[in-house]
Assembly symmetry: C2
DNA sequence: TATTGTTATACTCTATAACTATA
DNA sequence: TATAGTTATAGAGTATAACAATA
């Protein structure tokens, strides 16, 4: 997504009262009547039944769970992803790691500073090109990553349990179809 | 999701080189060798094949497309969702609309200020409880919402085209299973 | 005492321009 | 001249405390 915008936030309920088809807007009769006549859950049709909103809400739910699980390791989602990519690609340039994760190079500096401060990763000055840093995990970083991978496996198991094993695989496949090619170029 | 954290950002590639199974961490042999031996895409296994990351990337992709489509209407995703919920629930309290969308009450003030400034929505002081505001769309607001709904239908059609009609419905159903009940309470 | 809307504020994530040191 | 890392900074989005008006 571009800049920042959000649709659904924390704890927003997923109410659904009307049918699946696009509900016509209610007639704009007397305002006070409408307010008085209501009182129950709001009509969120057209929102909950749309891919973008459902994606947003699901992503928030999964991340919330992720954050809770990783609190014990003091790892946020972005930190975990950085640790994992460094672990799988040791010695890569700082800018390569950042680009692979879609993180702007300037924003990646503080991120690495923190991992280095915690003794999880290291910047190694390259001998061939003294501008660049080869990024590697320390022993502590690898140990923490191993623990994190186990926690991640647990979350994935919970999700597979919720969706059914075939459901989890189907979901990932569908999501990849949305990300493999930009949506706009399609039409 | 809780606070803020992100995993995938803008334009992050979705590289996938190894198999689906958890790839073992590469041996931590000589750093310079590893850096020199590489050069191609990075190994993102364990990230792209996981629900949380795939969700995040897909949500960003869909929102990016959404933002581009709605630029002509000068509506961001959050603004569209507010317009839609007001349109479907005219006369509801300001705090009810905010809560339904998971927006904190303080943050909803500026949001409504802007919609009111643009003449799309109005705060109507309730006669029964003079603390609360009944929120309604103006005629302009309803007209803009109608145009927005059409644009939204177009995006949904693109997505259904990408996933297949059954694929789109399956995706939404799977996503709802992740949001209907908090993941944590499940185990 | 509790609720509605509001203000003020702070923290995180994201984005861009510009500097430095190297190449 | 171009690239890698960095600094500074600005803008969204989100969260909490506290206040005034009203119930």
């Amino acid at each position: 997504m571009s800049v920042s915008d959000d649709i659904g936030r924390r704890g927003a309920p997923t109410t659904q009262r009307r049918g699946r088809r696009a509900a016509p807007l209610p007639p704009s009769d007397d305002v006070e009547d409408a307010a008085a006549a209501s009182g129950g859950d709001l009509d969120l049709s057209g929102l909950t039944d749309v891919v973008g909103y459902a994606l947003r809400r699901a992503q928030l739910a999964v991340f919330e769970d992720f954050i809770a699980r990783f609190a014990a390791l003091d790892l946020k989602p972005a930190q975990y992803s950085v640790l994992l990519v460094i672990g799988r690609n040791p010695g890569r340039k700082q800018s390569e790691i950042a680009a692979a994760l879609g993180i702007q190079r300037p924003n990646f500096v503080a991120m690495l500073d923190e991992l280095e401060r915690r003794g999880l990763a290291e910047r190694v000055r390259s001998t061939t090109d003294r501008r660049s840093h080869a990024i590697v995990l320390t022993d502590d970083g690898r140990a923490l990553l191993d623990r994190a991978l186990e926690v991640q496996r647990e979350q994935e198991a919970i999700i597979a349990d919720r969706l059914g094993p075939g459901g989890r695989d189907a979901l990932v496949a569908l999501l990849h179809r949305l990300t493999d090619t930009p949506l706009a170029e399609r039409d």
